[in-house]
């Protein structure tokens, strides 16, 4: 039995949408995104009064969501199928086609790479903040991002030239 106090309720109401969007971009699955955020909030509520959680709740929630996501991906490693994205419509590309292609390509990236891209280009975090959140060095973040972009560029260029 736990108590959700006023501050926690206000936090969920203010940040719920943002956390769901963040989780959805990480996993590209609506049901899984709901599960990730619910699990993260339950963990947060259990530790709400612990030092640091209520002080920086958004950062804490993001960290729990990312860790849950990466842990879940490790548990079901067979679900990771890199390089199997089907790219269609190689002729003249409009903007929605480009974004759709990038979205599908991102689904083929390793979960950690996608997390870096989402944190950097959706949450607008600095590499230092991303490194703190993921528990790695800044150089590692830059390296992961560079590899991800290399993959995206190769596939997009291949499609455009086809």
């Amino acid at each position: 039995m736990l108590v959700a106090d006023e501050a926690f309720t206000a936090f969920v109401q203010a940040q719920g949408t943002g956390l769901l969007r963040f989780a959805y971009l990480l996993c590209q699955d609506r049901a899984r995104a709901e599960d990730l955020v619910q699990d993260a909030l339950v963990k947060m509520l259990r530790r709400w009064r612990a030092a640091g959680v209520a002080d920086q709740p958004v950062a804490y929630a993001r960290r729990v969501v990312v860790n849950e996501h990466l842990g879940w991906r490790r548990l079901r490693a067979s679900g990771e199928v890199p390089g199997t994205v089907e790219i269609t419509a190689p002729d003249d590309i409009d903007a929605i086609g480009d974004r759709d292609r990038v979205w599908r390509l991102m689904a083929t990236l390793p979960a950690r790479s996608r997390a870096v891209l989402v944190l950097r280009y959706y949450e607008q975090l600095s590499d230092r903040e991303i490194a703190l959140l993921l528990g790695c060095a800044e150089a590692t973040v830059r390296s992961i991002a560079a590899r991800a972009f290399s993959t995206l560029r190769v596939h997009v260029l291949e499609t455009e030239e086809a």
Binding site: V12, A14, L20, Y24, A31, L41, T88, A89, V102, L117
Partner: protein, 313 residues
């Protein structure tokens, strides 16, 4: 940001809107009903909850909601093609690949006549829905479209005018690149175009549990004797690149289900003829004891009666 970084940023911003709603989020975590922010301060002081139970109950409810089919408007029926579902007027009939090469852009034509629509009715304004592979979207380049959110994803949608065999008509267009589909709609009334366009949703499976593309079945199984119902998915097997498109689906009950099961059993037991067939049927028979059995057979194995029930022509 360079061009690729900008593209990634735009992609994420666009798809973020597809995330699930937070309507039930607080209730999922606390078991409490959702409150408006201006009420939250006064009401949220002491919510004592059983967290695990609340989360489990909500997830079960959510999964039920996800699988429930939306109510169909009166006088309409759903049609599915690859990963999309549309509600169209029930009176419209359906044809596969109505235009022979070299004008074979249209995979499925749903309309008031069964033929290649631009040839048969160049001047008369009739309700016509064309479903085509995404690569033919250029046919409707003159129709301005804008990115729009629909249930299940994002499409590009708009209404303008397009040439139908030399005749300019009001035309609604939906480009759904994630499904690889272009939808073009023309009708005498603008409201009809709007209704059809607005009914589109991106659906991995349709209301009868049929995947948008034919799954690979290991082998046809022998149907049981007395099914109480049969969920049927009909897939086109004609034409390059269109061999696995879901083109019709529905549920047969009572005698119709039993007749279909008998036909499937007879085909498996006696003939197994490998005749060229226009469609593949994937049928899930349901039995009174709650068990199910899925079979995959060509349309040659299924009676004309079954075909007529599922594919109105």
């Amino acid at each position: 940001m360079d061009a690729m970084e900008t593209l990634v940023h735009e992609t994420l911003a666009e798809h973020a809107a597809d995330a699930p709603s937070d309507d039930r989020l607080l209730a999922a975590v606390t078991g409490a009903p959702r409150r408006r922010p201006w009420l939250a301060g006064g009401l949220a002081a002491a919510l004592v909850v059983g967290i695990a139970l609340g989360a489990v109950v909500l997830r079960a409810a959510r999964h039920r909601a996800d699988t429930a089919a939306p109510p169909l408007p009166a006088g309409a029926r759903s049609v599915s093609y690859h990963g999309i579902t549309l509600d169209v007027p029930s009176r419209l009939r359906l044809n596969y690949q109505p235009c022979l090469p070299p004008r074979n852009e249209v995979d499925i034509f749903i309309g008031e006549a069964i033929s290649c629509p631009p040839v048969s009715h160049p001047e008369s304004p009739r309700t016509v829905v064309e479903l085509s592979p995404y690569r033919f979207r250029g046919n409707y380049r003159s129709v301005p479209t804008a990115v729009d959110h629909v249930p299940g994803g994002v499409v590009s949608r708009g209404i303008g005018s397009a040439q139908w065999r030399g005749v300019t008509r009001p035309t609604g267009v939906i480009l759904a690149p994630s499904a690889g589909v272009v939808v073009a709609v023309t009708a005498p009334k603008r409201a009809t175009i709007d209704r059809i366009l607005n009914s589109l949703r991106l659906t991995p499976t349709d209301a009868f549990g049929c995947p948008g593309r034919a799954p690979t079945e290991p082998e046809s199984a022998r149907a049981g004797l007395h099914p109480i119902s049969a969920d049927v998915c009909v897939y086109s097997t004609l034409g390059p690149g269109t061999t696995d498109s879901l083109v019709a689906s529905g549920q047969l009950a009572g005698r119709d289900a039993v007749v279909t099961a008998n036909a499937v059993r007879d085909w498996i037991d006696q003939t197994r003829l490998a005749l060229p067939s226009a469609q593949l049927y994937r049928i899930t028979f349901r039995y009174a004891d709650g068990s199910t059995q899925t079979v995959a057979v060509p349309n040659t194995a299924v009676t004309a009666q079954t075909h007529a029930l599922l594919v109105p022509r």
